[in-house]
Subunit: 93 residues, 2 copies
């Protein structure tokens, strides 16, 4: 496999991972500052960001830079972490 | 440049072009069937689709599969076509 080809794959993985982490941090900050995840603004921001990430993942899958399974795992992993954050914030109310 | 590398670039261009065309067709169908582009549903669908495409383009730029200028041109070209569609539909009301 040519080096540059591997580079695209690795870069795609790194970018998607970084974008998922960015959503996680964004939601962490929102929870810390609003302390109300039931706020509609919170839901809107999260929905928009998750949609954006899912479009990036779908694009990477269609380009065969990541597999469908990897893409699904990335989203599910992020959702799991967001649920943990959300539950933790509910318990401190 | 390795063949597979060129293939990623070409495929990225083809996918983004196809996605832009899909938005255009979607809006054409919406205009034909609703004959009211000022409808909030129309605006929502368009906003969501444009945001999704812009995220794909941004991702392709970061992967260096397309240049920033090409990405911008693709979005602007689509916006121009959508404006023409929109104006044409207004004139037939």
């Amino acid at each position: 496999m040519p080096d540059l080809m591997i580079d695209h794959r690795e870069k795609a993985h790194a970018l998607l991972k970084a974008d998922a982490d960015k959503i996680l941090r964004l939601i962490e900050v929102q929870i810390e500052n609003l302390t109300m995840p039931q706020c509609p603004v919170y839901e809107d921001v999260l929905d928009t960001q998750m949609y954006g990430l899912s479009r990036e993942i779908d694009f990477a899958v269609r380009l065969e830079l990541i597999s469908e399974i990897e893409g699904k795992a990335l989203l599910e992993n992020l959702e799991k972490k967001l649920n943990i954050l959300h539950e933790a914030s509910q318990n401190t109310l």
